[in-house]
Amino acid sequence: MSERAPAVLIVGAGPAGTRAAETLVAHGVRPVVVDEGLRSGGQIYRQPPEGFSRPASALYGFEARKAEAVHAALAAVRESIDYRPGTLVWNVEGGVAQTLGPEGVGRIAFDSLILATGAMDRVIPFPGWTLPGAFTMGGAQVALKAQGCAIGEPVVFMGTGPLLYLVAYQYAHAGARVAAILDTSSAADALPVLPGLLWGGRTFAKGLWYMTWPRTAGIPVRRGIVPVAAEGEGALEAVRYRDRRGREHRVACTGLGIGYGVKSEVQLAELAGCEMAFDPLAQQWLPEADGDGRARDGAVYLAGDGAGVAGADAAELRGRLAALAWLADHGIAVDRGERARLRAKLRRIMRFRDALERALPVPFHLARALPDETVICRCEVITAGEIRQGRALDPAELNRAKAYTRVGMGRCQGRVCGPAAAQILADARGCDVAEVGRLRGQAPVKPLGIRAGALAAVEDNSRAASI
């Protein structure tokens, strides 16, 4: 008699989750795939709702073929997996994932978990950033890609990272007016890491093209800038910045996209018991895993940007590798040559990513220098000054500062403000940012309506009573 096949739960149906599912199916395994999105593709290859008509080339540009391939891969295994779109995994505990989906709360028992939870924009607050009209860079891209809307007229993009130039290009290409691209990084940042950037090959070439394109389109690009403030009566009307010589400028706009690269969504990995380690380059605590994504032997595997940001191409490779690792760990024969090829490709991308992070450095120091009155936690409206004053109570780490000041206590659970709050607290304490720790991941990882929470509790109670 064969034993019951081990149950594999994949969280996320972006490039990593999709390739993981496809790989398992190819080896005769039927995973459950839970995805918050209503359609597969994740954020990077997000699909618009039914009834939208732009072709993939208009939505995804150079990446159109990759996007279509990832969508097709999920569609091809649709009947061979237990696919649950529009469903949030809000807790993982003791081999059970608790979910909230179209049919309400649910539980999925699993033996193994493959987490492909993706990333969101990394944000450094600055005065006025809570005004209506300011969106994250990714949010600005979603508005255009999935809704056919620009976030304003005209729009300014500010920050750094690959999305800065890409989203500006997509906006201009779609006929939206882009007033300026304001980049906190400088060409000088890229010079020392040029050899590493060359590992990017075509990706690097595309990046250079996106960076030079605005000049030919007459869109002003300013590098080495410092954000000063977003301003307006009740809603965004302009953004002010200082150029590299310290002169202040004002650009009128009703939409502002801000972002400094993206950061991993790690809450579920932490709840699943992964060891967390501080990554000095990303300045983020990340779940630990080996090169194939093994985080806890046989139980938890990590893939894609949720396990450290490396981009969509890497996410596909990491999804495949995590699934192959799971298969090998469970005694199912896999093609060793394929694994070696995937690992080699991934290594090349990682070399490029490392150089890219240095070429477009995240100006974490800007958070430390913010004026006291700047709102840091937008959920609870907690200012930089309040975090600094909370220092008087001597919070040794970030969770204590949260208890004293409510920074990170709001509905986003510190996803948005956490990195900046850590920098401000570390600065106030005069210590390294790693020393102040991280805001702990807590269930539910996203807010649930009280009814959903109550229903889950009732279910748990009746389950306990019936044991």
Binding site: S53, R54, T130, C149, E153, R415, P447
Partner: protein, 102 residues
């Protein structure tokens, strides 16, 4: 300032995909034109400047991450349930509580 005043600057500007069938959502008593496939965030911000008031200061809020992570775009439906505007697709006749407040 009202979060949804006719004629006021709108936050979002449609630049593509405008051939979809029209639907109507209600913000308080006011009918707002929207398109099938809009998220509630899109529908509201194509007709006004904000979604809600901040709970802790005078500021208006109009969403931020647009991908279900920052929780800035919660609105209240007429039945009192709270939903995230950026991840909810509109249905014809949907009614959202106006939060124009005092």
């Amino acid at each position: 300032m009202s979060t949804q005043s006719p004629g006021a600057t709108c936050r979002l500007v449609r630049v593509a995909e405008t051939e979809r069938p029209g639907v109507t959502v209600f913000h308080g008593a006011r009918p707002l034109p929207a398109l099938a496939g809009d998220t509630l965030l899109t529908a509201l911000l194509c007709n006004g400047v904000a979604l809600r008031r901040s709970e802790f200061d005078e500021g208006l809020r109009a969403g931020f991450c647009n991908m279900g992570a920052c929780q800035d775009c919660w609105v209240t439906l007429e039945d009192g349930s709270r939903i995230r505007a950026c991840t909810t697709e509109v249905q014809d006749g949907m009614r959202i509580r106006a939060l124009d407040g005092p």
